[in-house]
């Protein structure tokens, strides 16, 4: 986690990241432009090469064409210029070869003897006489005569009607007979037609071809497109007496970026690469952001888990602990590392190890039923480090990973011991409150009674004092006054008696509330409260009831109170004084006589010392710091009001037994009550 990393470090990281990214972009840029440049370069060199090759091919074709022409014309040179025969042969030649525009027969001195024009061509020398352009021809023929071999003349331009013209070149063939030059055959070749004839259709489409002179003057051109002037190749075509410069000019211009397929491909790829890099960068940034959010969420969850009071525990499928939160550690008293490394959970009480292992094994086997049970929670017992056992409530859910496979169990563990302690505390508070309320009632009653009794007693005292006063100095009136006083004293004494009687009447009225009730019902109704107290100190409760529990005639609420008092005394007597295993509270019901039912509450405490026993039933006597001292005296009063007796003695197995009797309900009296109960 770098959430709390120092700032300089963080800035440096940001800088480094920016540097890396810009370096990557720069490298990419250089590589891409280099690639594009190389591609373009390659493209142009290829185009140049194509032009060169084309030029070479065309030059070769030209030479071949001219060679073939020379061959054909050779025959004309051998034919005698007899007028009609030669003329016909020349005409045929002209018809066959489109590049020829005129054939002439000249004599040995170079004078024109015969001339045949091409039928495809307008009259050549209609605008200027042949003689005006004869110079080159004569020079060529002279050279041919000297060399006795065909010689080409320099090219010359012949204007034609209509503003056009032809660039021509003459081929002079010497007609030799027996080593002597008899004459010459002169063939005028159209340079444009010659060029056209030596081109293949493909070449014609891709290049512009032209013959140029050394000074760049273009003599003839061919080919469909116009040359772009970028990829040019020049080739010298050597002929005897004359050399032609052939120029091939590719129609393809300087290779441009976009329409070029390869470049486009490379460019597209580069762009795609750039886009990819950008996407990658964005992805990285998003990932970093997600990472930060995840870290935050993790920290949040950690804080949440740490703040929980509920213990959290995750286990793998084979029962090993993979995670615990601090609350769980605090609950069982082991550290997280100890718990994770333990083969068997150290918080399992050793005596229940087998049971727990079995339970875990079965849960692993079947999922469905156990799952719902685990969700609803089950109660079990764990052990703290100190060896103390405590009840826990466990809620489990399966732990499922990203592939939706169960990898273990996640459990929430509640310490019921703590919860029970809270319950106990609140119950005790409740009890104290009730006791206070009862005490308040008692106090009120006492206040009322004291007021009621105070008046007559005060009056009596006044009369008596007055009488004594009178007797100190008796006179004639004294006896009369004394009589009066005594009468009033008697009156007031009677009034006080009435007050006492009304209290008695109140008690009598409660007696009328007596009902016939089963001894078992009485005990059962207090048992929940007794159990609650007993659980706190680990006391066991043993019940000893006859098979058919007798019925007793009593004020149910009061007797229940007595039972509660006695059981609480018993439990408290054993608390601390008796080892936990020996803490047993016995509740026994017997019927020693047909009119009496005896209830016994026995404990296994240390017994009652004699000096305490003497004062046990004294009101307001108590051995407990927080006691009121009314419990046992009140119990005895209640039991005696029922006509029974309450006493105590040592129990058979040690400890103390409190025993009280209540009148048994006679069968006749009990039956109708029982019936009405059943009816209800």
């Amino acid at each position: 986690m770098t959430l709390d990393a120092p700032r300089p470090n963080r800035r440096w990281r940001v800088h480094r990241r920016a540097l890396l990214w810009s370096a990557l972009l720069l490298l990419l840029l250089v590589a891409q432009s280099l690639l594009v440049a190389l591609t373009l370069n390659y493209e142009s060199s290829r185009a140049q090469e194509l032009s060169e090759t084309t030029a070479v091919e065309v030059a070769a074709e030209l030479r071949r064409e001219l060679g073939a022409l020379q061959q054909q014309l050779q025959s004309l040179a051998f034919q005698a210029p007899d007028g009609g025969g030669w003329r016909a042969a020349a005409a045929a030649q002209l018809r066959a070869e489109r590049i020829l525009v005129r054939l002439e027969r000249r004599d040995a001195e170079g004078r024109l003897a015969l001339a045949v024009d091409s039928p495809f061509q307008a009259e050549l020398f209609s605008l200027i006489p042949r003689a005006d352009s004869d110079l080159e021809t004569e020079l060529a023929c002279a050279a041919a005569g000297r060399a006795a071999a065909p010689v080409y003349s320099r090219s010359y331009f012949v204007p034609l009607p209509g503003g056009l013209g032809l660039e021509l070149m003459d081929l002079c063939l010497p007609a030799t007979a027996a080593g002597r030059t008899e004459g010459f055959v002169v063939a005028s070749i159209a340079l444009g037609a010659l060029l056209e004839a030596s081109l293949t259709p493909a070449q014609r489409r891709s290049h512009e071809f032209s013959f140029v002179e050394g000074d760049g003057t273009r003599l003839a051109r061919a080919g469909l497109p116009r040359g772009a002037g970028v990829f040019q190749a020049e080739r010298l075509v050597d002929m005897p007496g004359f050399a032609l410069q052939l120029r091939a000019d590719s129609s393809a211009g300087a290779p441009r970026l976009i329409p070029n397929l390869a470049t486009a491909l490379v460019l597209g790829l580069s762009l795609a690469l750039f886009a990819l890099v950008l996407l990658l960068a964005r992805d990285v940034r998003r990932r970093a952001r997600a990472e930060a959010a995840l870290a935050e969420a993790l920290a949040f969850r950690k804080a949440m888990e740490d703040s929980l009071v509920t213990g959290l525990r995750a286990r793998t499928l084979d029962g090993r602990i993979s995670y615990v939160n601090p609350a769980f550690c605090a609950m069982v008293g082991f550290s997280a590392d100890e718990l994770r490394s333990a083969e068997v959970p150290p918080y399992w009480p050793p005596e229940r190890l087998e049971e727990y292992q079995r339970r875990q094994a079965t849960r692993r086997l079947d999922d469905g039923a156990a799952l719902t049970a685990a969700r609803e929670g089950f109660e079990t017992e764990f052990m703290r480090r100190s060896g103390e056992r405590f009840p826990v409530m466990i809620y489990e859910t399966p732990l499922v990973d990203a592939q939706r496979r169960q990898t273990g169990w996640m459990s929430a563990v509640l310490d019921l011991g703590a919860q029970r302690r809270m319950e106990e505390l609140s119950r005790q508070q409740q009890e104290r409150l009730q006791a206070t309320a009862r005490l308040a009632t008692v106090g009120e009653m006492a206040s009322l009674m004291s007021h009621e009794l105070n008046q007559p007693l005060a009056a009596i005292a006044s009369y008596a004092s007055g009488s004594l006063n009178l007797l100190e100095a008796p006179d004639a009136e004294t006896p009369g006054l004394l009589r009066q006083a005594l009468e009033r004293i008697a009156e007031q004494a009677e009034r006080a008696g009435r007050v006492i009687k009304s209290v008695h009447d109140f008690v009598r009225r409660r007696e009328q509330l007596h009902e016939a009730i089963g001894a078992d019902t009485l005990i059962e109704s207090v048992l929940p409260l007794v159990r609650l107290q007993a659980r706190k100190s680990g006391t066991r409760i043993e019940l000893d009831l006859p098979p058919t529990p007798p019925r007793v005639l009593c004020d149910r609420t009061m007797v229940e109170q007595v039972l509660l008092n006695l059981t609480r005394n018993g439990i408290q007597a054993m608390d601390g004084a008796t080892p936990a295993a020996a803490r047993v509270l016995t509740l026994r019901v017997e019927q020693p006589h047909e009119r009496w039912v005896a209830f016994t509450v026995g404990d296994a405490g240390p017994g009652i010392p004699p000096e305490v026993a003497q004062r046990l039933f004294t009101p307001f006597y108590t051995t407990r710091r927080d006691g009121m001292g009314l419990g046992l005296s009140l119990c005895r009063t209640v039991i005696e009001q029922h006509g029974g007796a309450l006493d105590f003695g040592p129990a058979r197995g040690g400890g103390t037994e409190f025993r009280f009797t209540l009148p048994a309900a006679r069968a006749a009296a009990a039956a109708p009550v029982a019936q009405t109960r059943e009816a209800a």
Partner: protein
């Protein structure tokens, strides 16, 4: 108990809602030769007060009196009645002794601090109560005597003329005749005449006696 007989017979007023307590107390007081008058409630006592004294509090009660008052009563409580008596300035001439049941002691103590004569907790020791009642009656008698003397002085003062009263004031201030003459713009001789008349009318023989008379409580 020795009281000035000229003040009349002392009376003990008993206010308690309990007939028995009232009757017994009356009987007890009678055995000690004390007159008593019983009232069943605070209202009844207030009516009695209204009937016998008219508007002026000065001349009631005519005889030494004492009020034995129960704190807790239905209707107007003893404390409320006590407050009303205190408002009227009757507590000096009519000392109040509270009867309290148990639990009312703090209230009674508070009442004593505010001017009640005493409180007695029920059940009370009878003759001790009567003793306290007698002490209260004596306190009441003393108050009445003072009042009577004050009234006498007032009567004497009323007989003086305006000029004599001026002289009296200056005499009490302790000024010699000469200064009195200067202050009143009369002759020393005239002052001496007035002074002799004042002494004569006020039935004193010296200026010191005169001052004592006028400074007595109640004057």
């Amino acid at each position: 108990m020795n009281l000035d007989p000229s003040l009349g017979l002392p009376v003990v007023y008993l206010v308690d809602d309990e007939d028995v307590v009232r009757d017994a107390l009356a009987w007890l007081l009678r055995s000690r030769r004390l007159l008593s008058e019983g009232f069943a409630s605070a209202e009844a006592f207030e009516q009695h007060l209204q009937a016998h004294r008219g508007g002026d509090a000065r001349d009631w009660p005519g005889a030494p009196s004492c009020l034995v008052l129960d704190v807790r009563m239905p209707g107007t409580s003893g404390l409320v009645l006590f407050e009303r008596l205190a408002e009227r300035g009757l507590l000096a001439a009519l000392p109040v002794i509270f009867l309290t049941g148990h639990g009312d002691v703090p209230t009674a103590v508070a009442a004593v601090k505010r001017g009640a004569f005493d409180f007695v907790e029920k059940p009370f020791s009878n003759n001790a109560l009567v003793d306290r009642i007698e002490q209260a009656l004596q306190a009441s008698a003393a108050t009445l005597l003072q009042r009577r003397q004050a009234a006498a002085v007032q009567r004497l003062l009323a007989e003086l003329t305006e000029r004599e009263r001026d002289v009296l004031r200056l005499v009490i201030d302790g000024r010699p005749n000469k200064l009195i003459a200067e202050a009143l713009h009369i002759s020393v001789r005239t002052v001496e005449v007035h002074r002799a008349r004042v002494f004569d009318k006020m039935k004193v023989r010296s200026a010191v006696e005169l001052a004592n008379l006028l400074r007595a409580p109640g004057a």
